[in-house]
Homo-oligomer: 354 residues x 3
């Protein structure tokens, strides 16, 4: 609820040191913040992550530019040269914009059950609720409207934004960020047919979210029916994503907005799922698999593939098939015409033969 | 939290005056509310917006009917004749159902930071939280569970329904309606690869929502990475929609449920996006573009088009291609058959030639 | 907010009685819980719902196994034989994991309007809000952050999880479960064009949710414009689903995650809608209709069909069409080749004829 205070201005030399780069130009150049190439003012640093924008550099009024050492030509503007300009930009932005959390403790209007255990330097904001037996590690913030269920555990230095729900018995590691409205540990969708209606299968498991995971607004991670739904270390999940019960998401996997992963499916490490894509239940997807936006995986898939479409196929095949789509009506017409010509030809030849 | 008190009955003449129409029949006819054609009782007004339902008028038991002046035939029921019956229906329904907000102030159980600035006639309901430095314009209502972040600004006569989150520094104009569970200003999805894992790119920007915008339940609007995500005046967004960081949505654009607009994309004015459709990141869509449900735009698109499908194509082409889809297996079979016949024919002719 | 206390261990005979099955082996075998086939320990019961896992039984260390009477072969492990092992598993899991709700009353930090009427044995958790005129039936739980609007009615033995919103005048039956973040009764998406902008059509109706319905996290059910949006008895709705205004969902219908049902559409009984599927507005779908994941219905559909694709077609046809998709580029090439050969052949024959 408190927003970060911005840092004091610093020198280009300090920033180069922060990101492991070197300065070309005056290292004492003062920098007070970060801005895009076309908007940066004389006290801001900007970055050139994509060489195709290099022509914009001429008009750039920034204090300094983060760029790759290969940047050719001479510029009046001081440069911070570094192998990965985009990463350096992220780190410098972090330096200026993210200030360390200062714990406010249990604030007036927060509700913490007496049996809950809170670490040092935590913040539990007004309107947040911590249930019986829950534990919160040091440095963690619960914003207003967060509800932490009974016996839930949140590790250290986590940030749970407003109106997040973590249901009972779920376990969160360290440095986890949950954007507003996220739901962790809701019941999975399980019903046993009982005559013409359904009997609810209790969802008796829980969710484990490992360190350094981030989950976007209003995304939902269901608890296991028996056992666990697990989001492994470093995975990043965007807004409005559905992770069903007993799913396992591998380390450093990226899941873009509005994706759905159905129950009991296992996704490997370092995968990337494009927006609105989906994976059916009970399959296993390997490591380093990329699925294009709107794609749908419905079978086990080996590692190291780039897939697209429904059913998922190699991206290159999908592109070709997709590009053919608008030609379908014309193809159908041509086929009819060919059939007609073939029939005429055969009939003509038959006459000549007879 | 208080629901609107219904208005007293009024005369047909008063309603005609409200909507700029004229009465055919008794202008003193008493009307106490609005109901659909087949359910309206003798004290309710109904409407004929679509001429195809005209035959239902005979059985209609309403006090009066809103209709276009071209309505032919003679009816015993009094008529309110107006050029746009649907708009007149909306205005009359508004007259009966929406009562002016009467500010309740900061209610018991609300949490308002002492540094927040509240206008006259506001309501902050029990369980709502207003953070440090936030400002709320006159006549605005925050329902229970709303969390307004630090330095966020909400204009006049806005209605933020229960459990809405507006994060720090976001700016809302006047007469904005946010349905329950909406999230404004969550972090955009930005991560810089750092070896095999990812470094979070701080999302240092904010969101601007202009006047007269409405956003549906559980929709998410991410803040800019640097700078702004903007929803322009009069845009209407349905439930469960994803608007990524640095997107610009033009004036009076309509976005139906479950749509996803990826980062840094610009959408023009007066566009309409059908349910579950999507636009990729970093493209520009012109004005007056309609994208059919489930369509996907992946390139810049000019103004004044009706598109459908993936990749998005003119709606007419998409319809034809789609109608061909079920014939694909038969087309493939025919192709094989033709190839066979062609080979036979050529071999036969070759024999005859030799 | 309190999590269920687990039950004491019991005998296999008691469990057989509970599910109407019979014991093969020692009926006094002690069972303390339920676990999957490969994880069950010596005090747990497991189940064989799918005969294809029968080979796993040999290594099974469970106290007992729930299985169909047709299970062949002799096992050392005691068996609980029953016609529907999956249903029996669900009931036994329910026996061990779900303890009866013990009402905590209006807890400290809850906000209940004095005019609200609460039944016996209810729980209103810290941070939950009950508005003026609302009614709550006996045995019902409102978890933290739940907001119940004015004059809303919730029946008996319901469970509204954290941060659920039920807006004014909505009516919920008995034994309803709403997962966290669910929104009931938000305004439908209705706007009348008024020049180049839009006039909001007041959404003056409400929502009826009948007995035994369950709705998943962050799903949204909009109120009727006039009249009702209805979810009939026993329907089960997964996470992130959109139900628009004036929709009717039939009894025991299953709607999987991220589905969208557009306005004024009627869905029959015992239907199943796969993940990310959709139905357009103003259509009528019969009973016992199954729509595959990602399918899209855009017309009225008769009962007793299994559909898939866009436009929705019989599932078998869709499968064939879909399997042809990857062959499209090759088909196009073959067509071109055939056209060329046909032209050559005709030209050759024409020469011979002349």
């Amino acid at each position: 609820m408190m927003h970060a205070e911005h840092r004091e201005p610093t020198s280009l030399a300090v920033l180069a040191d922060l990101v492991g780069g070197c300065v070309s130009g005056d290292p004492s150049t003062s920098v007070s913040g970060v801005a895009p190439l076309d908007l940066a003012g004389p006290d801001q640093i900007t970055f050139l992550a994509n060489p195709k924008y290099q022509e914009k550099l001429a008009d750039c009024g920034a204090a300094a530019i983060i760029a790759h050492p290969s940047l050719s030509g001479s510029l009046a503007t001081p440069l911070l040269l570094v192998e990965n300009p985009y990463l350096a930009f992220a780190k410098i932005l972090n330096y200026f914009e993210v200030s360390p959390h200062v714990g406010q403790g249990v604030m007036d209007g927060a509700h913490v059950h007496p049996s809950a255990i809170l670490g040092e330097n935590v913040t539990v904001a007004p309107g947040a609720v911590v249930s019986a037996g829950a534990r919160i590690g040091k440095g963690t913030q619960l914003h207003s409207g967060v509800v932490l269920g009974a016996d839930a555990v949140v590790g250290e230095d986590c940030l749970l934004h407003a109106n997040v729900t973590v249901r009972e018995k779920c376990l969160l590691g360290d440095r986890i960020i949950l954007q507003p409205g996220v739901v962790i540990g809701s019941d999975g969708f399980g019903f046993a047919p009982d005559g013409s209606s359904y009997f609810k299968i209790p969802q008796a498991g829980y969710v484990v979210i490992e360190d350094d995971v981030e989950i976007g607004s209003c995304s939902c991670v269901d608890r296991g029916t028996l056992g666990v739904t697990r989001i492994a270390r470093g995975a990043k999940i965007d807004n409005l994503v559905q992770i069903a019960h007993n799913v396992l998401i591998g380390e450093d996997t990226i899941i873009v907005s509005q994706v759905g992963i159905a129950g009991s499916t296992t996704i490997g490490k370092h995968c990337t799922f494009g927006g609105q894509s989906a994976v059916v239940g009970h399959v296993k997807v390997g490591d380093n698999v990329t699925l294009a936006a709107r794609g749908g995986i419905s079978n086990n898939e080996d590692s190291d593939q780039t897939l697209a479409g429904v059913p998922a196929m190699p991206h290159r095949d999908w592109l070709k098939a997709t590009m053919t789509m608008p030609h379908l009506p014309e193809m159908r017409k041509e086929l009819r015409q060919l059939k007609k010509e073939m029939a005429e030809l055969k009939s003509k030849l038959a006459k000549e033969d007879s």
